[in-house]
Symmetry: C4
Subunit: 280 residues, 4 copies
């Protein structure tokens, strides 16, 4: 989103109308741009509510026609907006194939398809992703900064959590099969995939209760699984905590810059640059 904007800023043909349009649609700093964004977000919110209401049978049967009219109105607005976005950018293709461009496209197409195939309008809920633009109208940097810290920490924990989840999957397969053998189809553990589903429901402490152990041995094994889950739930938390702490520190302490080698990331108690030995 940002990239295509910048590159377009450099290469665009100077066209005042398109320039104005670009400013209103893609930027949130000017008053017109901010107003456009706020209105757009509210329209998105209302269009999602419309889709949700359509799924409620009692409302659908009474007000179905009105809802469809509103939905079409919103879709036409979004379609116009979509084309304006393409036009306002010098090289429209970059927008079209960007992540948000694809989301914008998927957010209008289901209504047109629902013309031919019933029920597709529910895919319009993808519009909710467009709401992520909300961060643009609030204090951008502050929120983006926080989102970045979280994302960075998640990225850093990714490979550790992958290892952990893989081990959990192996564990869950063995536990699920054990429970299938212990409890059997007569107690709701009708097959191995379902028993694995039950293991996951139990290990994650969700515990629906749609399938529950009935035999003594099954309840004993379940107890072990639950206490295991209780203990290992700590692992991802620990990983993310540690990573968050790390990224936090990296973002929080690097105010000093070495005057000799311009390096950063010095500890708060460092007196000398750890890279070149110069006094800070």
């Amino acid at each position: 989103m940002n990239n295509e904007k910048n590159s377009n800023n450099k290469n665009r043909i100077i066209n005042p109308l398109r320039l104005k349009l670009h400013e209103v649609i893609f930027e949130a700093e000017t008053k017109a741009g901010k107003t456009f964004d706020v209105i757009l977000l509210w329209i998105i919110v209302f269009s999602i509510i419309t889709v949700m209401l359509e799924s409620v049978q009692e409302i659908e049967s009474d007000y179905g026609n009105y809802l469809r009219i509103i939905e079409w109105t919103f879709t036409i607005i979004f379609t116009i907006e979509y084309f304006l976005r393409i036009i306002s950018i010098g090289r429209g293709f970059r927008y079209i194939f960007s992540f948000m461009g694809i989301v914008d496209f998927l957010a209008i197409i289901p209504t047109y398809i629902s013309f031919f195939i019933a029920g597709t309008q529910f895919f319009l809920v993808i519009r909710v992703i467009r709401l992520l633009r909300v961060f643009r109208i609030f204090k951008l940097t502050h929120f983006i900064g926080n989102a970045q810290i979280i994302l960075e920490a998640l990225k850093a924990s990714f490979s550790k959590i992958t290892v952990f989840l893989f081990a959990v999957l192996v564990l869950v397969t063995i536990l699920g099969t054990s429970m299938y053998l212990i409890e059997g189809p007569e107690n709701g553990f009708s097959n191995i995939p379902k028993s694995i589903y039950w293991s996951i429901v139990t290990l994650t402490t969700v515990g629906y209760g749609d399938i529950t152990p009935k035999t003594f041995l099954g309840q004993a094994l379940s107890s072990v699984i639950m206490i295991t889950g209780y203990s290992i739930i700590a692992v991802p938390t620990g990983i993310v905590s540690v990573e968050l702490n790390k990224t936090y520190k990296e973002h929080g302490i690097s105010t000093q810059t070495c005057i000799n080698c311009y390096s950063q990331n010095h500890d708060i108690d460092a007196k000398y640059c750890k890279y070149c030995g110069k006094k800070l």
Copy 2:
């Protein structure tokens, strides 16, 4: 509460009775003030129990009249207390429109309204907020200090958790709709709002089991949601841990700087600089 008291202390007309009243009602340091607070808290506790008992049909049908008499007695006591509070303060308006003043008012008004509209007495439960005054009679500073650390950490984590929760809401909307399309009304996922409710129940690991996936695809997607929830539950925990650690350190480590080597981060009980040995 504290502010208005202080400002009144400065500007009040010297009136011995009002002074005494103010001391008893608003302060907890003197014996009379402490006794008043303890008695008040117990009355609040009993009044809340009365309201709760009124909601239990078996008790209501047998002892309803007694309960109503007790409730009226408590309300009258609180009403007198409310007016004494206003009188005892020089500028009563500041108390009336303070947070605790509004709570005190809302804690008596439902009984009077229940005269005209039945059922309003249950709003009396708001009295429970008045119990927060309990911290005044215990070692004030100690508890307030701890509450402050928690609140500060929560405030510091607020914007990060907001970003996180917004992302969770977007996720939950898409997951809920997917489950609505996969499972459909015949398996309990009767509409999109209900499916989103189910997603939240699952992702937060609450797992009521009032709605559960029945199809294979639904159970598979649920498993993914649960394991996701299991992993991302770590994020708020991590954020709060890090923030608590930070505020804790800030409260626990003195702001003293060594006059010799200008080092900081000295423990609160340190008398000498741990880096150069100079007296702090």
Copy 3:
């Protein structure tokens, strides 16, 4: 347990038999003492299993008499052991009124009472507390050390968690009453105490599903409660993490002792004693 032993060691009349008895029963360092402890623990385990089996109706109806004989045998063994413990100690009263002494007493008395009142034998489960003596036969110091770190951290977090739990209780009362007013008795929220019970079930993410919201407003409020619970579950975790980290550090780093003032608890990077300024 430890205290009374030590004080007895000092004041006891030199009686070889009692001395031997004391060594066997109260100490785990000698072979006889360790054997005694291991046998005792297994007897406790079997006696608890006996009590549990007695509660299972199918087993009780078939083997009830055998179980009662076993139970009486165990109780008589424990009674003899109890009196030996009193005898082997110089000042028996200190043992009798110590925590473990009371537990030992409560662990035999229900069988005798069951002579007069049926069903009291289930209170024998209190014997499980006696199993805590298990730590004496394993590497005592290692486990006790770890238990101490956990306990210290829990104690340090106690007042903070108290503040937190009090706030949760106030929250839960208000939420429970709101749900009672929204859902009402017709949807299972039959009275305020039950609704508060439901709030706790939801906020702690237990989610039995015995009571679930049926109305749209109820499900919406529930979603808010769940996401709140999801976020605030982080607070006690954060508190305990921070405290554990602190006690851990205190236990982990204080190997250096100041040669001047014999103080400990120096940071790992300290060069000078922070209490007296002497070089470490």
Copy 4:
């Protein structure tokens, strides 16, 4: 696995065919070895899916014969692979009695036993453990490193968590028996073991809802248990967090000591002492 490979590398008779075989089967660095591993992993995945499908009655009744043929094919492949592994290693016994060797054996034997005893084929799910070899074909060291950090932290927290779990077991026994006495068999708490199972379900916040308290006292005690569980869930998380943090630091912070001021805790990328500026 690694050990036996290394020792074999040293002592093997130079046999080009066996050498090649060894390289393909046991090593993942060469192209042939990697291809072998990737194919093997996919075969394992498909064989597990086959076993799972066999447990689904609708599929079994229609395609049972095909599934059995596929299963036999996979088992024969694994049997050949198993013998090739033994042959390719100089001292085959070390492989046979290694952990992975036993798993490999257990992963083929149930099919042969199912010839005589029906239903044993489900034990084939143990093949899922063989999938752990997946880490060999990805960037080995990176993942192993992360797995090692997690395992080290878990090992370090082991004795602390053992103490904690033992205390939880004692607690759960007492709570379960209390609930049995309060609620009784008429409310689903049919015996003490089942009540303990319920306590574990509640304390771990799983909350199936198959057994739920019906009496007021039972719901009150449950609320206490839940809030307790909510608070003590923090303990294992805290322990693991602290340990992870520690092992992380140990892996992240070099063991270098400054030769000038003997300070430690230098970052892994530090070239100069951050306290005195001396080159490390």
